[in-house]
């Protein structure tokens, strides 16, 4: 659709909309969309709930965003909480905070700080995950995967009881995998680095494997 038929939408305060097709959407405050929303750039300061699917060229989030079905966005950036009840697809993600996806999350280049909960497969070309809270994914896959505990995450563990900053996953597959504080059944890949705090049932690697002395690895298989 061309630009003329995509009007801009600006919402301030507590508001509701039936959704639709828009250009730029700016939300300050609280807004509920009672249907699918298709827009250019979505900027939200506050909270937005979409009772349907959300398609956007880019999303800038400061606050919380909830999507009832699928979320497709070129870019996602910001701070806060993003909850998707369906699947998530995005080429570029820079998010600090909490990301919850019930189905699969398919990402291009993703840098995430915080906690992630993904019910299905989380895949990314390049994933940099800084753990700040208890995280879990059904499956993790992609090109270069890096999971670390952020420095603040280690500090937070001392003072809070909300669960350790660690990741739980079923299977992890990647060409280059670097893990810390991760519990997984199987890790498969080319170059694998298992860092401190990891508990891995079985590692299958094709090129190189390094295991930290503070990690537990059951089986190691070179294939």
């Amino acid at each position: 659709m061309d630009n003329q038929s995509r009007p801009a939408l600006k919402l301030v305060g507590t508001s509701a909309s039936n959704g639709g097709v828009f250009g730029q959407v700016k939300i300050t405050g609280e807004c509920e969309f009672r249907g699918d929303l298709d827009c250019g750039r979505l900027a939200c300061t506050g909270s937005v709930a979409v009772r349907g699917g959300l398609t956007a060229a880019a999303i800038k989030l400061t606050g919380t965003c909830g999507v009832e079905t699928d979320l497709v966005s070129g870019e996602i950036g910001g701070t806060g909480e993003l909850k998707v009840k369906g699947g998530l697809r995005s080429e570029k993600v820079r998010l600090s905070g909490h990301l919850a996806v019930d189905k699969d999350a398919e990402l291009g280049d993703a840098v995430l700080r915080g906690a992630i909960v993904c019910g299905g497969l989380l895949s990314a070309d390049r994933l940099d995950l800084g753990l700040f809270g208890p995280s879990s994914v059904g499956e993790l896959g992609g090109g270069r995967l890096r999971v670390r505990r952020s420095r603040m995450g280690a500090l937070k563990n001392l003072v809070s009881s909300g669960g350790a900053a660690s990741l739980k996953a079923g299977t992890i597959e990647g060409d280059q995998v670097e893990l810390q504080y991760t519990e997984a059944d199987v890790v498969k890949g080319g170059d694998i680095v298992i860092g401190p705090g990891c508990k891995i049932g079985r590692v299958e690697y094709s090129r190189e494997l390094r295991v930290d002395s503070r990690a537990q690895v059951g089986q190691r298989v070179r294939i």
Partner: protein, 209 residues
């Protein structure tokens, strides 16, 4: 019909591709979601693919990606390509659909070569012809099938769907359902044929190209 499967590990090794590429192609929707088949093995969950289809698809991606970006590729690989059409003469020459089906389900303009067959129509003919020549449906039933496809297939807008042909007490009926779907019938119903239209479209395309 049990089809041959290939595990993800074997696939990567065989084609010389990486996990990253496979997941990227999946994200760009170059490889359909339904081809990822999860099964339990003794080392835990593994993903399998229908072997012939995934090998052909990866081959095409690898050949085409030199000149096209991945996003352009996605359009080319969609099973219901729309810019293809054939005349009756070409259709007969390539032996895609039998003459009986062509003659029965074409307009006069198509028969004398003034009009061509669009891809969707070719797909309907192809599906009908497969069932007809397989002896599963009669000529009269094939009219009903063409009508069902014409009326309802466009409403799926390219989403995967399957075609069912059932009989109960000599009464036949066709149904289109979104795939993958779990359908259950009472004991008297016999499912005579079940076709994945996306798969048929894939086969048809390989015959056209």
């Amino acid at each position: 019909m049990e089809r041959e499967l290939i595990s993800k590990k074997d696939l990567l090794e065989l084609m010389g591709i990486s996990y990253g590429q496979l997941y990227r192609w999946k994200r760009k929707q170059l490889i359909p979601e339904e081809w990822f088949i999860r099964k339990s093995t003794f080392t835990g969950q593994e993903t399998f693919f229908p072997k012939d289809m995934i090998l052909a698809r990866i081959d095409r991606i690898m050949n085409m990606k030199e000149d096209l970006s991945l996003d352009e590729l996605a359009g080319k690989l969609s099973p219901y390509q729309t810019d293809l059409s054939l005349s009756k003469h070409e259709l007969m020459e390539r032996n895609i659909v039998s003459e009986v089906s062509i003659n029965r389900h074409s307009t006069p303009a198509q028969l004398n070569g003034q009009e061509t067959y669009a891809f969707e129509l070719l797909l309907y003919l192809f599906a009908t012809d497969q069932l007809l020549s397989g002896g599963e449906i009669s000529l009269i039933e094939s009219d009903l099938l063409m009508e069902t496809l014409r009326n309802h297939f466009p409403s799926y807008e390219g989403k995967p769907c399957e075609l069912l042909f059932m009989r109960k007490m000599g009464v036949s009926m066709f149904a289109l359902a979104a795939a993958p779907s779990a359908l259950h019938f009472d004991a008297g119903v016999k499912i005579v044929a079940r076709l994945q239209l996306a798969e048929l479209a894939e086969q048809l395309r390989s015959k056209l190209n």
